[in-house]
């Protein structure tokens, strides 16, 4: 069933056409990757879907409902969670506190004036941290964590709202290669198990071709190719403008174990 349908999204920054009539759809439990060079408009597209930016044109439908231009907080309540290219967390909070905060927000308890925030949703927060493998670090200030760990916590924060759709802008940027594979496997596992749709961008082609069900290629704000990893890999235009030689090799390498 179609979870997300994006139709003709367009965004202009002054003279730059950052997204030009971008259209795609995403099913429940599906992992859709957007790839493209820096400045292609990936983050812009994410931000229009995630409610951080208002599109100049086009529409976003979530499970059949028009959510175009709704703010991020409204989308969150409709089941859209996200992580950012530069991780956004609550720096003054502990790791646990970050997830507790997300749970408080999810349960609509942010206006309570008298209860003690530190003891609320502890267990649920620990459980979420456990899922992303961060339970052991629960008590530490988030500012002390390695960047890869911060990204995991950010995933736990996003999951706290029990999303149907996860938007992940470069989830593995700044991580060591081994960490990347582990994180993407974690995301893929959760997505398949809970039938969460995942839209993600990634520069690491190994990660993309290993986990994406389908791929969109965005260049200068326009989708120039789309399809299964095999189709995209084979597309000569994509090879020319983006993947180049090394990307093609990565694509070939990554696909083998899955099919093997």
């Amino acid at each position: 069933m179609t979870l997300l349908a994006v139709e003709g999204l367009t965004k202009r920054f002054g003279g730059v056409l950052a997204a030009k009539s971008v259209s795609f759809a995403l099913d429940e439990g599906e992992m859709l990757a957007i790839i493209g060079p820096n400045g292609a408009g990936k983050s812009t597209t994410f931000n229009m879907v995630g409610g951080q930016l208002r599109p100049d044109g086009g529409s976003v439908m979530l499970a059949g409902k028009d959510v175009t231009g709704l703010p991020s907080r409204a989308l969150c309540r409709m089941g859209v969670g996200r992580t950012f290219q530069v991780a956004q967390t609550f720096l003054s909070f502990s790791v646990l506190g970050n997830v507790q905060m997300a749970l408080l927000a999810h349960h609509g308890q942010t206006r309570q004036l008298l209860s003690d925030a530190a003891v609320m949703h502890r267990d649920a927060a620990l459980a979420l941290l456990d899922r992303v493998g961060m339970a052991a670090q629960a008590g530490r200030p988030i500012g002390e964590l390695a960047y890869g760990d911060v990204k995991r916590v950010e995933l736990a924060i996003a999951l706290a709202a029990a999303p149907r759709l996860l938007l992940m802008d470069e989830p593995t940027a700044g991580m060591a290669p081994s960490e990347r594979t582990a994180l993407m496997a974690l995301v893929a596992g959760i997505a398949r198990a809970e039938r969460i749709g995942v839209l993600f961008t990634e520069h690491d082609m190994d990660a993309v071709f290993a986990h994406a069900d389908r791929i969109l290629v965005l260049v200068r704000g326009e989708i120039i190719a789309r399809g299964s990893p095999e189709e995209v890999r084979a597309d000569p235009e994509v090879q020319r403008v983006y993947l180049g030689h090394s990307g093609t090799r990565a694509a070939g390498r990554a696909r083998r174990p899955v099919h093997g």
């Binding site: 950012f84 408080l104 927000a105 008298l114």
Partner: protein, 617 residues
Amino acid sequence: MEWSFLLVQALSGLASASSLFVIASGLTIVFGVTRIVNFAHGSFYMLGAYLAVTIVPWLLEFDRSPTLFFVGVLASALVVGLLGVAMEMLLLRRIYRVPELFQLLATFGVVLIVQDLVQLAWGPMDIPGPRAPGLRHGVTILDQRFPAYELFLIVVGPAVLALLWLLMHRTRFGVLIRAATQDREMVGALGVNQAMLFTGTLFLGAALAGLGGALQIPRISANAHMDLSVITEAFVVTVIGGMGSVPGAFIAALLIGLLQAFGVLIFPKITLVLVFLLMAAVLVVKPWGLLGRPEAAAGRAVLPEGILDPGRMDWAGKVLAVVALAVMLALPLIDAYAVKVGTEVLIFALAAVSLNFLVGNGGIVSFGHAAYFGLGAYGAGLLVVKAGLPMEPALIAAPIAGGLAAALFGFFVVRLSGIYLAMLTMAFAQIAYAVVFQWVEVTGGDNGLVGVWPSHWAASREVYHYLTAVLTLAAIVFLRRVIHAPFGATLRAARDSAQRADAIGIDVRMHRWLGFTLAGAAAGLAGGLYAFSKGSIDPTLLGIPMSVDFLSMILLGGIQSVLGPVAGAAAFHSLKDFFLPLTDHWRLLLGLSIIAMVLVFPRGLAGAFASLRRRPA
């Protein structure tokens, strides 16, 4: 009205605008590079004028030539520039690492010190300066006479603008200033000697302020109040233009100069508020001023400056709290005056905690918190004086009045962030100030209203002290509780990352707005209690000095701590009370102690207490 008159009136406006721009350009450059809101800029302006009325007449003794006049003016500006360098090297350089707000407090300490030093050096009388030789006369324009010196001033503004443009685009120093204004981290990354850059910037900024002051001597006498009279207007120009933008300051100065020149024709009575209305309007429509840029987006990995971990109270904290409470309750054993001071400390403690609820917990730096304190006082006072109600309902009305005002202003305030937010709070506070100042029939104008005394049962100092203690402590405990509650955590979360807060479903503006309202209500209660402790209300309760006092209290106490502001209020108020009767130069001593505290306790008293306890035995 004839055209000739409108033309001359426009020229008057341009002359004021030009003078204002010279001053504001220095302020905006300093802010752009150092991010310091430099209250002492007005002091530099005043020093420029005082130096010029000393140097210029001395030079003119040799020869009454225009050249010597301008040599004197430039020399004054240069000397002030050197004073700026001194301030940078002796003071600011030591505190670049402390929270930005602390630097603001330090510059305010400098304001107090300069006020007294100027009076010591030049005496209390206003000192008239000489007119500029060759420019004494009036020039007839159509049928109107216009001062030649003002024609000259009209040219000065654009000339300074052009020179600054050349400096910014043709010299390495200027390029660095622009780079630092746009991205401070980048300058550090480029390996630029930051200390040299900042020293140079302070020289330039102070010299421009000094030039502005020195150029005024043919028009106004050097006087001890000129620092504060110019600083708010310079802030307004800087903010309207966009902080850090020199061309923006130029446009804003033009707008304000002309607005005033023609404003006096149409609304001769509201000149006080006209500029602040303009500033509020600009900020509501263009949140970063006319030519300003949004502040660099959050997402940098820097810890916020406010409360990091509200924490539990440990035993030392508890002991301290109990001792403080016992002292407060035992004050009547000392003497009647100690009770009086104690009552005021409690009231200011509540005001300070409510402000830190915004600043430390919410990252909402309000420069206008006194507005809600003062409106709370007026809410209570008007009920007593005008409606004849007793104290009890009036004290209920006080937080409602403060809260309603905060809800009204906060609706616009929470749309902004950072320094622009701070400036909008100041603009609203000035508008509120102007309203109570001008609405004589209702508020009694600047004379205020008297007769706001407690009910009979609470009339004695002691009973009123205990009443105040109960109410303020209850409110402080409540605010502390809220900081620990989900609502307080939500405000901290929104402060840390508004984007993340939004993405997890938090309506950031709504929560900030509610928080602003709550803090306004608490300040309003404090204001109501203050009114009954004094028996009168007047506009100084809403004034900028009062807001600065509150800021000083929370900074002295430590904005990282939930209860630090209580200690800050006690320390600040006791200091003031100690110095005030001691000598005429209490401002000098107060300023020096503020600076000493900033240097010795850069994280406030609470921070000092914490690190004392953490130090291994």
